[in-house]
């Protein structure tokens, strides 16, 4: 926790890096959503257990 607080304080001294990390954060979030919707099984059908005859 302490290390994290120190890191955020250091970041305040580097506005460009702070900005880049913010961009990266938003980008990763959006890409995660995109990949989820592209690959997820969005079927609302009830679960069906396949058994042999």
């Amino acid at each position: 926790m302490k290390a994290f607080m120190n890191f955020t304080k250091k970041l305040e001294a580097h506005p460009r890096l702070q900005f880049a990390l913010q961009v990266l954060g938003f980008y990763v979030l959006m890409m995660a959503l995109f990949l989820y919707f592209m690959t997820a099984n969005l079927s609302s059908a009830p679960e069906f257990v396949y058994t042999q005859f």
Binding site: Q22, V23, G25, F34, T39, S43, A45, P46, F48, Q52
Partner: protein
């Protein structure tokens, strides 16, 4: 303000990435690989883009169910038998895919079928009184296939009405999809939707199409790996080739191999694979005579009308169908007491329907007691696959 700037910059990068992906998946084409059409993949049947893009020019769609996932690692499965020949079928199906979903799929992909033929491998177990199980149908339901089928101008209104009614009935277990099905009917078939309904249906369809292209790329990439990998099986048994006579499976050698392997691997009372027999053996006492009162077994239920629907779709689209009548495992069904008369009545009924529609029939109903025909209680095994493959090949070769 700074955060807003960061968000907007990320958004620009995101949009650029999505456009890049869009461009890539729209132009992505799997390399020419015969293992994709014959791969026993469950996901393939739902993805319209895989079926239309990969439909072989030297083959036709073969619809079936769980048998495709059985025997895939043997020399008798179509994926191996036809690997190096001049015929490559597109196998479509997995467990619980039945006549109705195949009718929808065929109506959806028909434009990509250059050889205007289709085969349907009928499993007797589809014809239980209930027909296709609603939850199974819902879990196998493909909206992209349905939307394309219902919008197919070549289908008559009566056929569309039957497909729509059955689908809505079976989707009562999935209200959200059912609501969208109603909108597909309204927009793509009846052209009655208001502009808002049209907009939301088109937007959802575009999203599904994009999603399907993405999933198609992932599936094709995974199946493509089989093209390069060394096949664990021996080289397929094919006849010597020349330019005048292209490669064909060597049926005699394959039957001889099946007989020999059957003598080694299928020595049990049902003549099925020993591993399958070992699995069911502990349950055999409780199965004895369990179906002895099934006098009307496999003779009633909605599956017969679904089969008629499949054949009607073929007729309306100008596709020549072949119905493969797969028998029950005579040894096992005798054990359960399932009456022989009921079995005979079932075969007669499906053959009668096929004849009614002028479909070609590959009749294996006299193979109930053929040794090594089945892998287990119900699925095709060594000789079963060979007989089915041989009729698929002959059907392809006929003008």
């Amino acid at each position: 303000m700074k955060r807003m700037k960061a968000f907007l910059t990320a958004l620009v990068l995101f949009v650029a990435t999505v456009l890049g992906c869009h461009f890539y998946i729209h132009h992505y084409r799997a390399k020419d690989c015969v293992s994709i059409p014959t791969a026993p993949s469950e996901e393939k049947g739902k993805l319209r883009t895989v079926l239309t893009e990969q439909m072989p020019e030297d083959g036709y769609p073969v619809f079936g169910s769980s048998e495709f996932q059985h025997g895939a690692d043997t020399a008798y499965h179509p994926a191996h038998v036809f690997e190096q020949t001049d015929f490559h079928p597109m196998l479509i199906g997995a467990g619980y895919y039945q006549s109705l979903s195949h009718a929808v799929t065929l109506a959806s992909i028909e434009e990509s079928v250059k050889v205007r033929k289709a085969a349907l491998i009928l499993s007797p177990q589809w014809f239980r009184k209930t027909g296709v199980v609603d939850q199974a149908y819902a879990s196998r339901f493909s909206e992209t296939h349905y939307a394309a089928a219902i919008g197919n101008e070549a289908l008559s209104d009566e056929t569309k009405q039957y497909i729509s009614d059955r689908t809505r009935k079976l989707l009562e277990v999935d209200e959200k999809t059912r609501a969208r099905v109603l909108r597909y009917d309204e927009v793509y078939w009846k052209h009655e939707g208001d502009s808002f309904t049209e907009f939301r249906t088109d937007a959802w369809s575009s999203f599904l199409h994009e999603k399907e292209l993405f999933e198609t790329m992932l599936l094709e990439k995974s199946l493509e790996r089989n093209c390069n990998s060394e096949n664990a099986l021996a080289a397929p048994l094919i006849r010597e080739t020349s330019e005048a006579a292209p490669a064909a499976p060597d049926w005699d050698a394959l039957y001889e191999l099946a007989e020999q392997e059957g003598r080694e691997q299928n020595q049990n009372p049902f003549f099925i694979d020993d591993t399958a027999y070992d699995r069911i053996e502990p349950h055999l006492p409780e199965k004895k005579g369990i179906s002895s009162d099934a006098d009307r077994g496999y003779q009633t239920g909605p599956e017969f009308d679904d089969l008629r629907c499949f054949l009607t779709v073929c007729q309306e689209l100008g596709i020549e169908p072949m119905i493969l009548v797969v028998p029950v495992n005579g040894y096992y069904y005798d054990h359960t007491g399932f009456p022989k008369e009921a079995r005979a009545a079932y075969y007669a009924k499906v053959k009668g329907i096929a004849k009614e529609y002028g479909a070609r029939i590959a009749d294996f109903s006299d193979q109930e007691y053929t040794k090594y025909f089945f892998e287990d209680r119900v699925h095709l095994g060594k000789k079963g696959w060979l007989m089915v493959n041989e009729s698929l090949y002959e059907f392809y070769k006929e003008a």
